[in-house]
């Protein structure tokens, strides 16, 4: 599914923010990505959701070597990835429904099915009353649920979430985690970046731990 081999990454001519990262995510696996602030979690996620290319090393995703994958093939790979951004990155002028529908519409899905699926999912995450609300009128927790709904609506093969339960109350946090677990049970590989030790301990799943740009804990890696 995903394989990193000696990957390094830097922004511009700055120092490397990730060094010698090597790990493998098996199809259908569920990982927590942890580490202190500034350890490189978001940078690693950026590599995973194809927002950046590595400065060195080899990344293989869905059996594609990214160093040789042409730019025009990236949209096909990105459509297999769902992302929950830490700052949500919702489109403020679109309704919750239109925001969640974006991945389906971009992929050219049938409009009637889009509406049906999106409405159903928004109801599931408790936003049935906010379907036509725009993000600026939603609370942080509601925005987060819209962001999660947008990430999972296309049933991605890889789901990446940056602090997906950071802005919701514990009950809703659990509900959202169960949504991600359900998705995982259907075969989606899930990586959740979080600081929340309680969450990590509640769900006994393998961890990837970053510290100062280096992977210090990974399945198969000596701690």
């Amino acid at each position: 599914m995903v394989r990193f081999q000696n990957v390094g990454m830097r922004y511009g001519i700055g120092p490397e923010v990730l060094r010698d990262i090597s790990f493998e995510l098996a199809p259908g696996s569920f990982h927590f990505l942890t580490g202190p602030s500034g350890a490189g979690k978001t940078s690693l996620l950026k590599l995973l959701y194809l927002a950046r290319r590595p400065s060195r090393g080899l990344i293989t995703m869905f059996n594609h070597d990214l160093s040789t994958t042409p730019r025009d093939k990236l949209p096909d790979l990105r459509r297999r990835i769902g992302v929950v951004f830490q700052d949500f990155r919702l489109l403020d002028h679109l309704s919750a429904l239109d925001n969640v529908a974006l991945p389906l519409r971009i992929a050219g899905a049938n409009e009637a099915q889009v509406v049906e699926h999106v409405t159903e999912l928004l109801q599931w995450v408790g936003l049935h009353d906010q379907i036509h609300a725009r993000p600026p009128t939603l609370s942080g927790g509601e925005k987060q649920r819209v962001a999660i709904a947008r990430a999972v609506i296309g049933h991605p093969q890889l789901l990446l979430a940056d602090e997906p339960t950071g802005n919701v109350d514990p009950d809703m946090g659990m509900r959202l985690m169960h949504l991600l677990l359900e998705l995982n049970k259907t075969g989606t590989t899930v990586v959740i970046a979080t600081h929340d030790q309680h969450l990590i301990e509640s769900f006994n799943r393998p961890r990837l731990r970053l510290d100062d740009g280096e992977l210090v804990l990974a399945p198969g890696l000596a701690a």
């Binding site: 959701y49 194809l50 927002a51 950046r52 290319r53 730019r71 025009d72 990236l74 949209p75 096909d76 990105r78 459509r79 992302v83 990155r89 489109l91 002028h93 679109l94 239109d98 974006l102 991945p103 971009i106 992929a107 409009e111 509406v115 409405t119 947008r150 296309g154």
Partner: protein, 293 residues
């Protein structure tokens, strides 16, 4: 449930796009007006050419000379005997005075100014006449006789009109270039404003063409609006100019009335301007996005 029309990029609120319709209106106005000028000049050239086609003028010395009538008669006989000549009619003094009066004035004509005797020659349609040879024969038969086929005069007029026509087409091309520059600027400004949303769209799988489609549709809408205004303005100006020109009695002044096909050509220029703006927006977006991951 039905969705209302929506776009992923909120381009309608862009400051750079707000002035696009008004500038497009000016561009289409200037472009179509210049093109209309080129059409009018073309019509004028055809009209001038038609007016002298199949005619020649022969000058035979001074009309007041004692042997003038005899010399004219010899020239007329020679002309009539020439294949291709349908008629050769000497102009009487009144007719010649009428021709010269606008240029010389009545007082000058009343003096002893030498006035040439003129023969108006009409040629058969499709007559292949060697005017140089005819002129030489005339000069030999009637010393001092000179044949004028008006072609040097027409050549000067046509050369001048052609220059103006190229100038008008050059203005059309410049207006096109200015339109391209304007759309590139507005589109780049839009790309900068919406950079974050574009990145999100990319990350959820949008292809460059999907994003470019939104920019090109937006630009097309604004360009159509501007083109309609520009076309209406140019229509009003041309109709007004035609009305003014109709009241001026000047035979050389080109007619400003445009045929339906000419109006269609002007509309075609506006359509081309819209297509140019749309294509420019698309190419600008595609080229800019190529630099992103």
């Amino acid at each position: 449930m039905m969705f209302r029309r929506r776009t992923d990029l909120q381009l309608a609120a862009d400051p750079a796009g707000r002035f696009l319709p008004s500038v497009m209106a000016v561009m289409v106005f200037l472009g179509t007006l210049s093109f209309a000028g080129a059409i009018v000049l073309d019509q004028a050239m055809q009209s001038w050419s038609r007016s002298i086609e199949g005619t020649l003028t022969v000058q035979v010395g001074d009309m007041k000379a004692p042997d003038s009538a005899a010399r004219v008669a010899v020239a007329v006989d020679l002309l009539k005997a020439t294949p291709g000549v349908v008629s050769a009619t000497p102009l009487d003094k009144a007719a010649v005075d009428k021709l010269l009066e606008p240029w010389l004035g009545k007082e000058t004509l009343a003096t002893d100014l030498p006035i040439p005797a003129l023969i108006d020659v009409r040629l058969a349609r499709d007559a292949e006449l060697d005017t140089a040879a005819l002129g030489a024969r005339l000069a030999q038969a009637v010393p001092g006789a000179r044949l004028d086929d008006h072609k040097p005069w027409l050549a000067h007029m046509v050369r001048f009109a052609r220059t103006l026509q190229w100038l008008a087409l050059g203005i059309v091309a410049l207006v096109g270039l200015a339109t391209v520059a304007l759309v590139v600027f507005a589109t780049r400004a839009g790309l900068a404003v919406h950079n974050e949303v574009i990145e999100v769209l990319h990350l959820i799988g949008a292809r460059d063409a999907y994003i470019a489609g939104q920019f090109q549709n937006h630009t097309r809408r604004l360009a159509i609006l501007g083109a309609i205004v520009g076309l209406c303005l140019v229509g009003a100006v041309l109709v007004a100019l035609a009305g003014i020109a109709a009241n001026i009695k000047a035979p050389l002044l080109p007619k400003l009335e445009l045929a339906p096909r000419h109006w269609l050509m002007l509309a075609g220029i506006a359509v081309l301007a819209v297509a140019l703006a749309t294509l420019t927006a698309r190419i600008t977006v595609m080229r800019t996005l190529k630099k992103m991951m």
